[in-house]
């Protein structure tokens, strides 16, 4: 019973939402919007579970003085300071201490993480473009042509480079992407049908 009722709820909801896609009636739209609202509400109710998990793990790290427990202390302090400041009046106004912490600490840290991507792309590209075999060589040549076509110097060398780059992106690249997307579409639809039929149950924590 513990397993059957959730499967039944999922099957009925899944079937109704499938029908909803083809039914433009206001009732069906209202049902869909309601389902989305429920999703958001459930998500909000789950947040305390996440915070509890995070705080518990970090406290344990500090208590056991595991490797990197200093980071755990910083995480906890950051969490409680931001939580406390979030309850102060006018905290969301520009210039408030809460916003200053957000703008001058959080955003630069996030930008730093994101900027690492540029260096990682360079190192990953170096590995990918080594001409070890025929396929890798094709990738290397294609990549050089696309890069030349996308930068001003390519155009300066010869106006054909942008055209070659566009051709590679619009035909061989697009064909491969569409093939993957068709497979993904069918795979997603198949999984959805399996869920509606109750065959796929991994989303409930058991197979």
């Amino acid at each position: 019973m513990k397993r059957r009722i959730p499967i039944l709820i999922v099957s009925i909801t899944g079937f109704l939402l499938t029908v909803q896609y083809f039914c433009p009636h206001p009732y069906s739209e209202a049902f869909y919007n309601n389902a989305l609202d429920w999703l958001v509400i459930i998500g909000i109710f789950a947040m305390p579970l996440g915070i509890y998990s995070m705080v518990r793990i970090q406290f344990q790290k500090v208590a056991r003085q595991e490797s990197g427990w200093g980071f755990a202390v910083i995480s906890l302090i950051s969490l409680f300071v931001m939580l406390g400041l979030g309850y102060t009046p006018k905290c969301l106004e520009a210039g408030s201490f809460f916003m200053k912490l957000f703008e001058f600490i959080y955003i630069p840290i996030q930008a730093t993480m994101f900027s690492l991507l540029a260096f990682y792309i360079a190192s990953a590209a170096y590995r990918a473009f080594r001409a070890r075999n025929l396929l890798a060589s094709i990738v290397l040549v294609s990549a050089i042509l696309v890069m030349l076509g996308r930068v001003p110097i390519g155009m300066a060398i010869h106006p054909i480079f942008p055209e070659i780059a566009d051709w590679i992106m619009n035909f061989p690249n697009m064909a491969a992407q569409r093939a993957i997307n068709i497979g993904l579409g069918l795979g997603a639809a198949s999984t959805a049908i399996k869920i509606v039929l109750g065959v796929e149950r991994s989303y409930m924590g058991f197979e």
């Binding site: 999703l39 305390p48 639809a189």
Partner: protein
């Protein structure tokens, strides 16, 4: 008597003055009128038709009329659209269009109306429409629409007929192959997926090295198909780590995903016969913020020196940040995602990558459950049908068979 006449004359004069001022206020542009235009406008009387074009939960009425004669267009300022919800009077202005316009859609989701009292169009109400031809001198010639209309909400969107048929065929295929699989058991051939086979080896390697395994479910929400597929692989990995007594670390980005992942790992440990080895500390929530999550997981990789990293689920810009760090740390990495843009990053940095639908096929491949294998087989046949349709579409486009082209294009768009 004289007093009464003076009072009456005063009243009449007042009413006339008020009326004149009101008329002047309403139509200040009246200066002169080219009376030669009038018969030409009346001659080219635009016949308006109304149609119910409600769809996607929006009630909509389409008003169409014949175009005005080109020779009178220079004398016309605007076309005005009036609507009445009760009878032939009390018409309210709902739209102003250019003189060349020939249609107007009065939809329930249109926010800006010239006369706010008009309100949005509603289903099951009787509506009358009028077209007004406003001349440059400020005169308005009104023409009623041929008929009234009662817009009705639609129960089936006819434009989605192609996806509906495709869904129906696919549904029948899946059910059919599930029945076949039931009869034949697990005796259905499924193409080998190298990445899946390699997971067991990677777990074995981690056990030999005595280091933990990191499993990342991505940034997807619990309802994402990629995340759902990832739970199945997590169950398999957790079962193996339970058998080998290897440490498993599952940092999560979403509280609901964390809850389901905890349940999945707990059940896997129970099925492996080692429920005591499970701890909630294995699966934990880190943060919902993308790059903060990356920082935390990268830190984990480098501090714990994980032997194997598994990335299965929905990934965005963090894919390369995670997998390249794992690569630098020297971990064996297996990944799978349905985000096409992230696949090249995983292919470059990971030892094995499940491309696109292979991730969805994982549950059937790993579980060997006949029912799941049947669905996978149906998926393969649907792919074959799609290929045939693509060839058909190419031929139809080449020889211009309109009906087939529209149907097949709709189908491909849906897929």
């Amino acid at each position: 008597m004289c007093k009464t006449i003076r009072l009456l004359l005063g009243l009449v004069a007042g009413v006339v003055l008020c009326s004149l001022s009101a008329v002047c206020a309403m139509e200040p542009a009246v200066i002169s009128m080219d009376y030669s235009v009038t018969p030409r406008i009346l001659k080219s009387k635009p016949v308006a038709k109304v149609d119910d074009v409600s769809s996607d939960g929006i009630i909509a009425v389409k008003i169409t009329w014949d175009p005005l004669d080109a020779e009178i267009l220079p004398y016309i300022e605007n076309i005005l659209i009036y609507r009445s919800a009760i009878s032939d009077d009390d018409f309210k202005l709902i739209g102003t269009l250019k003189a060349e316009s020939t249609e107007y859609i009065d939809a329930s989701d249109t926010e800006a109306r010239i006369d706010p009292a008009a309100g949005p169009v509603r289903s099951n109400w009787v509506y009358y429409y009028k077209i007004g031809v406003l001349t440059r001198e400020g005169f308005i010639f009104l023409f009623s629409a041929e008929d009234y209309i009662i817009p009705q909400p639609v129960w089936f969107d006819i434009e989605k007929i192609a996806p509906f048929i495709a869904t129906l065929i696919f549904f029948i295929l899946v059910i059919g192959f599930i029945q076949v699989a039931r009869r034949r058991g697990a005796d259905l051939y499924v193409r080998p997926i190298a990445g899946m086979n390699e997971i067991d080896n990677a777990i074995g390697r981690a056990t030999e090295m005595g280091r933990p395994i990191l499993y990342v479910l991505g940034l997807g929400s619990p309802e994402d198909i990629a995340t759902i597929a990832s739970y199945t692989i997590l169950a398999r990995v957790a079962k193996k780590t339970a058998e080998f007594r290897t440490d498993l670390i599952v940092p999560c980005n979403e509280p609901i995903v964390m809850t389901i992942a905890q349940e999945t790992v707990r059940n896997a440990y129970l099925e492996a016969g080692h429920p005591d080895a499970y701890s909630d500390d294995m699966v934990f929530f880190v943060t919902s913020m993308q790059f903060a999550y990356v920082a935390a997981v990268n830190g984990l990789m480098l501090r714990e020196r994980t032997a194997t990293n598994c990335y299965f689920g929905k990934f965005y810009a963090e894919s390369l940040l995670l997998s390249e760090t794992g690569n630098i740390a020297g971990s064996i990495q297996v990944a799978g995602t349905d985000e096409v843009a992230q696949l090249p990053f995983f292919v470059t940095t990971c030892d094995y990558t499940l491309i696109g639908e292979e991730l969805y096929a994982a549950s059937a491949y790993l579980g060997r459950d006949p029912l799941l294998l049947g669905a996978l087989k149906a998926q393969d046949y649907a792919k074959a049908i799609t290929m045939v349709l693509i060839y058909l579409a190419t031929i139809a486009l080449s020889v211009n068979i309109a009906g087939i082209t529209i149907f097949v294009k709709g189908l491909i768009d849906y897929l």
